[in-house]
């Protein structure tokens, strides 16, 4: 009984969270609403790719393909059938999410099958290639709108839908890992041959991971199509796939919580840059110098200093202060270089900041933000020594 009680409470908690988010978003501008939805979609994408990459250890770098299959399925169906079926938007969106999940799942099956024979980088390039094939195919189909893309008729902008999907995805992955059914996935990641010797059906495990992962990406695609009320091939280029892989690795391969955090961070950071205007170029160059110096100093401390945690923290603090000093000095020096005297807008720096974040985080924490760790209430309790509410598991 207690088990079901917790279950029910978590589900209610999740639903409540989604509608709370919807409520918060409603009061905000459409720009903020958009960020909410896209963040939710990226969480879904990152967590579902984590199932393939992190948990099952199949190196896929073409996740945007399934996202695209889902988005185009929804877009195509909406333009053909929405007017006839006359469903309420929420029901239609649900129907589309299921349909898109199925088509994307089939695509996942298609890609998952070669994964039986291919390993590592070879599999990676096949998934990448599949993404490109799908994109070029869509670009050349009149019925799919060619390079312009497809207008999706009903605009359905529910923040809750994106986050409900994200939470569903998180819940599925988490429960998979918590139960005996998830062990084969981990076993395949660690050692295929050994796990096959132990009676794990490697083929089935890999294919299920691919199909499940792509189904969630497909459903996310359906939400995207209806949210943007538009789909076009450039929305699903290789960069999107790379971004998703990056989120997974940066969060910590295999860690669901990590994927969620990295997805939100990597999505939010570049968008935040839009708020800054007129940044002096000399300051940017100086920051680059200071960050590089700090990164290598921190790495040196990490490798060569073996004192207590407190001493270590003091040294890190010293490095940060040192970096600020370096920044200040080099900014003054670089200010004299004529080509650095201009000012630029933060929006031009979005991808630069994104890429520097990637490199710096990888250099300082190669195992990802959370490594293999997961967020759990037990961990919180151990930190604070207090009993916590059990309901909000999700």
């Amino acid at each position: 009984m207690k088990f079901w009680g917790v279950r029910l409470a978590s589900i209610l908690g999740a639903v409540a969270f989604c509608f709370l988010l919807e409520g918060v978003a409603q009061g905000q501008s459409s720009f903020v609403q958009r960020l909410f939805v896209l963040a939710g979609l990226y969480v879904t994408l990152a967590v579902s790719l984590n199932l393939i990459n992190g948990i099952t250890g199949q190196f896929s770098i073409g996740h945007a393909a399934f996202y695209q299959v889902g988005a185009y399925t929804a877009g195509f169906c909406a333009s053909r059938f929405f007017a006839q079926l006359n469903l309420p938007p929420a029901a239609w969106l649900l129907l589309m999410m299921i349909t898109s999940a199925i088509t994307a799942g089939l695509a996942g099956l298609l890609v998952g099958l070669p994964s039986l024979r291919l390993k590592g980088d070879y599999l990676a390039i096949v998934t990448l290639g599949f993404g490109e094939i799908i994109r070029i195919f869509a670009q050349n189909q009149e019925a799919l709108g060619g390079a312009y893309g497809l207008t999706v008729a009903p605009k359905i902008q529910y923040v809750w839908a994106a986050w409900l999907l994200a939470i569903l995805c998180i819940a599925v992955c988490r429960n998979l890992l918590r139960t005996a059914h998830g062990l084969p996935f981990l076993a395949v990641r660690e050692d295929e041959i050994a796990s096959s010797a132990m009676g794990v059906n490697v083929t089935q495990t890999k294919v299920v991971a691919f199909v499940l992962g792509s189904m969630f990406a497909g459903a996310a695609g359906a939400i995207l199509a209806h949210f943007e009320s538009f789909v076009s091939p450039p929305m699903f280029t290789m960069d999107v796939s790379f971004t998703i892989v990056t989120m997974v690795v940066l969060g910590g391969t295999g860690s669901i919580t990590g994927s969620v955090l990295a997805a939100i961070l990597l999505f939010y950071l570049p968008e935040k840059m839009r708020d800054f205007t007129n940044i002096p170029l000399s300051g940017v160059a100086a920051a680059f110098v200071a960050i590089s110096a700090a990164v290598f100093a921190i790495r040196w401390v990490m490798q060569n200093f073996h004192g207590s945690a407190k001493d270590r923290a003091i040294r890190y603090l010293g490095i940060v202060v040192g970096a600020l000093v370096i920044w200040f000095i080099s900014k003054a020096l670089l200010g004299n270089v004529p080509s650095l005297k201009e000012n630029i807008d933060g929006s031009k720096l979005r991808m630069v900041v994104f890429s520097i974040t990637l490199v710096v985080l990888m250099l300082l924490r190669p195992q990802g933000m959370l490594g293999h760790h997961e967020f759990s209430w037990d961990w919180v309790r151990s930190k604070f020594g207090k009993p916590t509410v059990k309901e909000a598991t999700a």
């Binding site: 958009r34 169906c77 839009r274």
Partner: protein, 421 residues
């Protein structure tokens, strides 16, 4: 989650998918009239819906106007130029005292050369309180801006978006450039009547919707005039070697080649076409050719080719002269890199002029005022929007590419809007 379960689910999913597949086939068969609207170019007729939302109002002493352009990514050359043009227009107005004593502030948003980036940027601008948005250069991006702006009742003046059905998004969208349905046919008419070409091959940049559509409108008109399109070859922007495509075109022995892409690829194509032995073939293109850089990338091979443009830098009209002088003054004597600087300037100035005439300083009045624009003397020609559903009838100039010493683009023939169709 149970693995066995997921397998069963998978089977069910397959069955459902099959069922849906059959169903889909049936319904399309029975109702062939249901077409998807995204791909069909609806006739540029009336019936545009007006946005119902209130839009933004000017608060305080600053009038905020937004511009969306590709400041990063592969369309940076055009995006950056359009923003430069817009900045000039705003500076001019502020120097002249602003509107009702209020200064105008131009807020830029980066579309990152992507459609969804354009949408994000537009929504950010709207939430920042701009009363109107200028942009974008590419049609695919502008559609997204127009959709977001419609929901919020904010006007959009497109800069270089030539896709025909763009202004059907609503009464809030208008543009300062001509449309593809005009530009393609102009070049087809010029090729058939003036150059006497009968067999033309097309070369399309398959990654650019602009190029896909321009090739189509050119081909349709050229065939209607009685010519033949012998072949259409495809490439993607970023490609550097075109020998495969050129060999195929050469086999068809065309007398003209229509290159509908941007100058960045047109230059190398021209050089490689000439080297492959197609010495006499006339090369033609659209406004994507306009950049002095074409002379470097095309070298001697591009000289004597023709393209369609919005204005000509050697024109005597005062608007052109003042614009070019001001631009050179602000940019160390350099001419604009692409034609988008002039169009960005026009779009911004048109919006600001409309704002002066608007009943009050808010989006709703601004939309009305923009749609009332008559005989606005822009750099790219006289623009009238009243009664034209956002698509101003404009002149198109066919220019010939000549060496820098002769002034890069030399005016050859002008086509008025009513000469086509």
């Amino acid at each position: 989650m149970n693995i066995q379960f997921s397998w069963k689910h998978g089977l069910i999913a397959l069955a459902v998918a099959a069922a849906i597949g059959c169903n889909g086939g049936d319904s399309t068969a029975t109702t062939p009239t249901v077409e998807n609207k995204g791909t069909e170019a609806t006739p540029a007729a009336a019936g545009r819906k007006a946005p119902t939302a209130e839009g933004n109002k000017v608060e305080g002493d600053v009038i905020k106007v937004g511009i969306v352009g590709s400041l990063t990514g592969d369309q940076k050359p055009w995006g950056e130029d359009s923003v430069e043009g817009a900045k000039m227009a705003v500076e001019e107005l502020n120097a002249a005292g602003g509107i009702n004593g209020k200064k105008v502030e131009l807020i830029t948003g980066d579309s990152t050369s992507k459609a969804e980036g354009a949408k994000t940027a537009a929504e950010k601008l709207i939430s920042d309180g701009v009363i109107g948005i200028i942009g974008e250069v590419a049609s695919g991006h502008t559609i997204q801006i127009a959709k977001s702006a419609f929901d919020k009742g904010v006007p959009v003046v497109a800069i270089g978006a030539t896709k025909t059905d763009l202004t059907q998004e609503g009464t809030h969208v208008s543009r300062v450039c001509y449309i593809d349905d005009f530009q393609g046919p102009v070049m087809a008419k010029f090729a058939y009547e003036e150059l006497g070409l009968r067999k033309v091959a097309l070369m399309t940049d398959n990654k650019q919707p602009y190029s896909q559509y321009l090739s189509k409108t050119f081909g349709d008109k050229f065939k209607a005039l009685g010519g033949t399109i012998v072949k259409e070859a495809f490439y993607e922007s970023g490609q550097t070697q075109f020998s495969g495509q050129i060999t195929e075109l050469k086999a068809e022995t065309p007398d003209g080649l229509f290159l509908s892409g941007y100058f960045t690829e047109v230059g190398p194509i021209a050089q490689q076409v000439r080297q492959a032995g197609l010495k006499d073939v006339k090369l033609m293109g659209g406004d994507g050719w306009d950049s002095p850089q074409l002379l470097t990338s095309g070298g001697d091979a591009i000289l004597g080719s023709f393209f369609c443009n919005h204005y000509n830098n050697k024109e005597d009209r005062p608007a052109v002269k003042t614009f070019l002088d001001a631009y050179k003054k602000g940019h160390a004597g350099k001419e604009p890199g692409t034609t988008m600087a002039a169009l960005g300037y026009d779009a911004t100035k048109l919006m600001l002029e409309a704002l002066k005439k608007a009943k009050s300083l808010d989006s709703k009045s601004l939309i009305e005022a923009i749609n009332e624009t008559e005989n606005f003397a822009g750099v790219s020609g006289t623009i009238t929007l009243k009664g034209f559903n956002g698509n101003p009838p404009k002149r198109a100039l066919v220019v010939e590419v000549r060496p820098q010493s002769e002034g890069f683009q030399v005016f050859r023939k002008a086509y008025e809007a009513d000469e086509i169709k």
